[in-house]
Symmetry: D2
Subunit: 315 residues, 4 copies
Amino acid sequence: MKLTKEQSTEIKNQQSQNNQTKRVTAPELEKILYEAIPALDHGFIRVIDYMGDDTSIVQSARVSYGKGTKQVSTDKGLIKYLMRHWHSTPFEMCEIKYHIKLPIFIARQWIRHRTANVNEYSARYSILDKEFYLPSPENLAVQSISNRQGRGDVLEGSQAREVLELLKNDAERTYENYETMLNERYDGSTINDSKKGLARELARMNLTLNTYTQWYWKTDLLNLMNFLRLRADHHAQYEIRVYADIMLETLRKWVPITYDAFMDYRVGGTEVSAKGKLVLQKLIKGENVSMEDSGLSKREWNELMEAFDLQNKLV
Amino acid sequence: MKLTKEQSTEIKNQQSQNNQTKRVTAPELEKILYEAIPALDHGFIRVIDYMGDDTSIVQSARVSYGKGTKQVSTDKGLIKYLMRHWHSTPFEMCEIKYHIKLPIFIARQWIRHRTANVNEYSARYSILDKEFYLPSPENLAVQSISNRQGRGDVLEGSQAREVLELLKNDAERTYENYETMLNERYDGSTINDSKKGLARELARMNLTLNTYTQWYWKTDLLNLMNFLRLRADHHAQYEIRVYADIMLETLRKWVPITYDAFMDYRVGGTEVSAKGKLVLQKLIKGENVSMEDSGLSKREWNELMEAFDLQNKLV
Amino acid sequence: MKLTKEQSTEIKNQQSQNNQTKRVTAPELEKILYEAIPALDHGFIRVIDYMGDDTSIVQSARVSYGKGTKQVSTDKGLIKYLMRHWHSTPFEMCEIKYHIKLPIFIARQWIRHRTANVNEYSARYSILDKEFYLPSPENLAVQSISNRQGRGDVLEGSQAREVLELLKNDAERTYENYETMLNERYDGSTINDSKKGLARELARMNLTLNTYTQWYWKTDLLNLMNFLRLRADHHAQYEIRVYADIMLETLRKWVPITYDAFMDYRVGGTEVSAKGKLVLQKLIKGENVSMEDSGLSKREWNELMEAFDLQNKLV
Amino acid sequence: MKLTKEQSTEIKNQQSQNNQTKRVTAPELEKILYEAIPALDHGFIRVIDYMGDDTSIVQSARVSYGKGTKQVSTDKGLIKYLMRHWHSTPFEMCEIKYHIKLPIFIARQWIRHRTANVNEYSARYSILDKEFYLPSPENLAVQSISNRQGRGDVLEGSQAREVLELLKNDAERTYENYETMLNERYDGSTINDSKKGLARELARMNLTLNTYTQWYWKTDLLNLMNFLRLRADHHAQYEIRVYADIMLETLRKWVPITYDAFMDYRVGGTEVSAKGKLVLQKLIKGENVSMEDSGLSKREWNELMEAFDLQNKLV
């Protein structure tokens, strides 16, 4: 990730602010405010603003006149209770805003979370930066055979080199032709004074999906956790997980009590179906269970065994 | 509006906070933070938290690395442009949270704005305060004849006294019976040690719709303006307009540039249909127009004349 | 539940329709379309319209050109997979619309599900029906001691009679005074020709929260299941559960495959936290576990034991 | 637009359905159900399902037991009234579902309307079709000078040919390299048996933004009109307007009364700010007004003059 000198200055100016407020603050999050945290080869995540902290959840759950806090231990118990029983509204009372730079094909996955507020850099209006995502060699995976929407082993040898070469060349050439059509370089200089430029809203269609875009993305704490639960999961595509992992860390700095409950109940937890429950109950009683008797499909059975790490025990 | 001593203390404690932050602040809004602004006879509005200011709108419209501000005049022009052309997403980048006490029949109107986050005081869990809304005499209006969902003249004389008496007595008696069923007073004291109390979730059904409830209500700036546009309008019920007017004032303190644009384009503005446009164009050209030729219904015609204050001119 | 003759005729007229369509239909649901299914003492649920069936879920999950169905068995497997892995969007592709009559205090809980579309009968505009909910004796429960927002045993003897008497008298008197203030009876007849009526938007505040209201309520299949998961649960208030149980039955008639998966994974299923998982794993291995070692709070421990029916085994 | 034989058969099968239903139907819309209406060079729009018609709006606005219709003329008046006064909820009671094929850069604009339900063809899971959008010569516009996000004149001569050549070659080459990386052709055949294929979720990043994707897109009538109001407007990008225009036509077939009101109040209508209103009032009175006195900016002034076609009159 590389910032222009002007961008670095703008960020430093923001960080040098020292304002007084009667609002609650999250001191750990303040420390990294505005900072550009690198993600993938050219992307980043910046926390731009936030509202509320752990005590705000407690405050609104109690519809209190004052702060949420009675005692940290009581607050903790309440937040865990709310998380366990899927009480959603108190977590909606906190809000966070990010500035994110990310490849377009990842932005297309991300935007499917419809509950966030988004302002994206407009390629109808401006020229996109000359930056595209190229996977590092250890992330160049072959198509998984068992999972039709997943990855298998890493691609090796000459084929890996070939793939990287293709990605790089195609991105560079299509970008160059984008400039040619615009009759303008990414730095704003005109290419040929005697020519006109194609409308930006049209020229952009020539770019490849690994081109970087950027946006402001704002969401409440509940929907942030819904996003992270899906996107920090090992089923998620690696490239979006990189962003989710960074955001998990900002969650920890912002609302540490909620973070702990989230890791215990959502990220580390699992769901068991009615039929799966019967299987576990039998196992606890020391009874024998087979996939056939359980009423579970092979896929369900394997997922249950995996979730409780029972593969070896039950072969 | 009366606060208990404990509530006043809690509010004072919040107001005495003096935290450091790198976030942008809205100094005029900070001055009234947490304050209980009276509404109707027992209600209030308190601003509890906020995120962003006018510059945040500009910042995200530009997807900028720094603050929104280049020059106040440029920011103003951009915000007016966004408002005029219904660009919605930059206004979603600011957020505000209120603590509100209001009669249940008004809460029922209010909650129809579904885009806000809400935590309401739970009458399944707690006893509601012994407070009910009684209109002041000048707001006791008769049913409008021309508008089936509006008010006409003020009710006068003995009938007004009778109405107030009925409202007061019924609210007091049903509340008293609510306490009897709960076997508990509003201050938490038990009424009869040898009796059990009815479940709160059931007893509450005996309360009248003018009983006060309270909630935390959080929304983004765009949806706040949508709410205010409808609820500060003269078609809105007086009792909700009282709240909307107070919130308009908090809007002015929070984002003054946006407030001005909102008053000009939304509150003070009007919409003209395709057919209405033809009428105005003819009038400007000095031509004669009659309702019959216009293709407008009587109701549409009257609304157009009223919007442009043309009633006298065209009779 | 009692319908006027005119209402019954209107419903019969709707049911006598026999239209041709190229859309998919749900034959079992067609059979009960428009029918008023009684709920509580004066409420009802009517299915008014629907869109899609089980095959529509499959169709859009596959982004297919034709119908979803390849084979019923494949469709079933896919729907179960989508449910298990919380794929939400294909379930959003079906829609259902209900007409519901329900007490206001239940309507206030219900409306907190913000993702539905709602048109409620307007008491600003019209007079509410003279109908209020009175619990049957077996549902008159005392406040629970263990659960601050639940019910305990049934109230018995003279206290039960007293409560019912209070509820009945208060509802009747406040309704009568509502009519007096309106100067109009519920059937539209004027009370006193020499008097004016108070505005309807004001008079309604005198009604108690067990007065019935009604609305059209429309939602997609995903959000219907979210609603039912919470409201058909034994933690939900009895009076809303009555409605949820009826709706579960309409779900079964509409999308039987989805219904089965929903009952298995959501209604009959359970969630286990990271710490809870360790407890179950130890139990399966035949190891001893105590609440103290588990890191679970007493409440969490009890909830886990209850979910897997282990109370007796582990005392 | 070209469909495979299998696709055409699937569509014909759907169209040959003849089901009985008690639901309301929209006969004009039934006639084109499932049909693939061509859009741009390879895209299409298909209406897959719908719920409700004009009478459903009236029915729920009245919270009626029967159908909406009293008399068509009354229904018409009510729908116009609802539209004029921005009553939103009755329009939410109708729902429509489309199957749409469109270029990715247009899909990215489209998806910003967050209130719809969407299932997109997954390029993590499947191979995208070998189809890309190439503008026809009359749509190859240069960048507008006056409007930074619009188009100016048509590009002509050799430069036009060059642009089309670049777009075509780049799309074809990147697609070919996409196949090479996948080691699989778009028809599913393997390229080189001794090689492995790159994961689909990675290979897709090499495609250009004019590649076609497809999705199921479902929305209610209110949000459909919000979409059309913005996207059938002349400020919208030509490529999305093509789709919006087709959808306007499906709106007309589905809910003709609503369509008329929408065209009159939204599409053909205009908004006038408080300051703009004063200008028009003065003009109607025959007074002189200048931009300077009006308090309007130059841009606002021009927009007002344009909306009322007053440019010539007032120079």
